[in-house]
Amino acid sequence: MSSSTRAILSAWLAGVTSGTYTATALEKTLALIEENRTALANNAALLVDPRGARLADAADHLSRLVALLIADVRAANAEAARNHLAALPLDRERR
């Protein structure tokens, strides 16, 4: 989901795709993340496990970031979108 979000945003920031498409694709990504979060939240055994808990936290974080990115795209605020993009979980792992 993180890679997908990055690819969708990068295409918009490069001026290749429209704001309409980008917002639509990010909304769908958010819906998919929410499904995963719900599945995690419904599994108590997984949440007790440290890896499961980390996954749930990462999904929470990603969900918030994607919501912020949707707002950035709707406002056509490329600078804010770049900042939020840099905070995506995979970026931090790479660093």
């Binding site: 890679s3 690819a7 001026g15 795709t17 694709a25 769908k28 990504t29 998919l32």
Partner: protein, 404 residues
Amino acid sequence: MSALLDLLLGIVTGIGGFVEVGSISTSAQAGAEFGFQLLWAVAVAAAMLALLTEMSGRLAVMSKRTIAAAVRERFGIHFQAVPLCAELVLDLLLLTAELGGAAIAVKLLTGIGFQWWVLPTGLLLWTTLWFSRFSIVEYGIGLLGLVTLSFVLAAWRLGPDTGDVARGFIPSLPSHDGVRYAFLAISIVGATVSPYLLNFYSSGTIEEDVTPDERWVNTATAYGGDVFGSVVSMGVLVTAAMVMQPLQIKIDSYEQAALMFVPAFGRWAVGLFAASLAIGCVGAALEISLNMGYMLSQIFGWSWSANKPRVENARFSCAFSFVLIAASALAVLGFDPLRLTMISVALTVVVMPLMVLPFLVLMNDTQFVKDQRNTVVGNAVLAALTVLGALMALVVIPLEILGG
């Protein structure tokens, strides 16, 4: 000259039946998750479909009956009830997915929720079916379907390594996630060998009144059209493998899938993807609706033909209208078209033996095919398909749960 023109149009419009929501989804997911490794599955599925299509055309030319009518006559309505119900349910699911796919294509361009586009799309389909002759549905939509060649153009522009692509045609075990690999391989077969294509093809042969002397046109169209169509499916797989796999993006939605065109087409990417998806889905939806009307009419003995005035085929016209309304109502409920597609292609594999086994009997019955019975090779292929279909049916449900 007319036969040659028919042949050319038939081959070119082979895309119309081949490239639709099922083949786009399964090939794109296969490419994104396993690179070129599942190209062999597309090739095998295309060969299966070509053989079955040729046989369904031959049956229609020689017996002047469609598959549905011939099965009804040979085995009786009690036998046919099971495959008929199975195919109707499958076709309805697939039609719902096609309507959803076409509506999502419009959503990609407008940003307005796909459910809002389902009813206008359904109305467009119904209007086309109501006012068009068979040739318009088959050739018109097939020619528009040439836009899906953009998948092949994208793959070509991305310049894949020919050696890597060639190795994809040799079946090999995956380095990861074997269950998902098996599920996608079976789904590719299910998406390609859709039962509706066979009865639609045999009905079309009768609509066009193909004579035994013109049977070579049927054979060449079946093989040529399916090869042409499969090249587009391979284009989808290769493009997804080149673009999505390096980014580690699994395709969970059509919104994500549109990204695969970005490196090849830049600003045109989303528009071209939306056009390809919309036209592929609309073409398939027209064929499925028409086929459901054909099947019900042929089994219950009603008058049927897309070439006659609708008033002369009232029950046939009501049948395709009703299935379009039912599928539109289901699509408006908001089922995810991609998931619905994956479920319906898996179910296709489950019911495949029910469709192929009576076909095997018919293709050897001289009352129907006269002196054009299947050769040993043709029978071996059909028997293998039945056994393979039964085996796949046994494993596809567990795979759907574990790997879907």
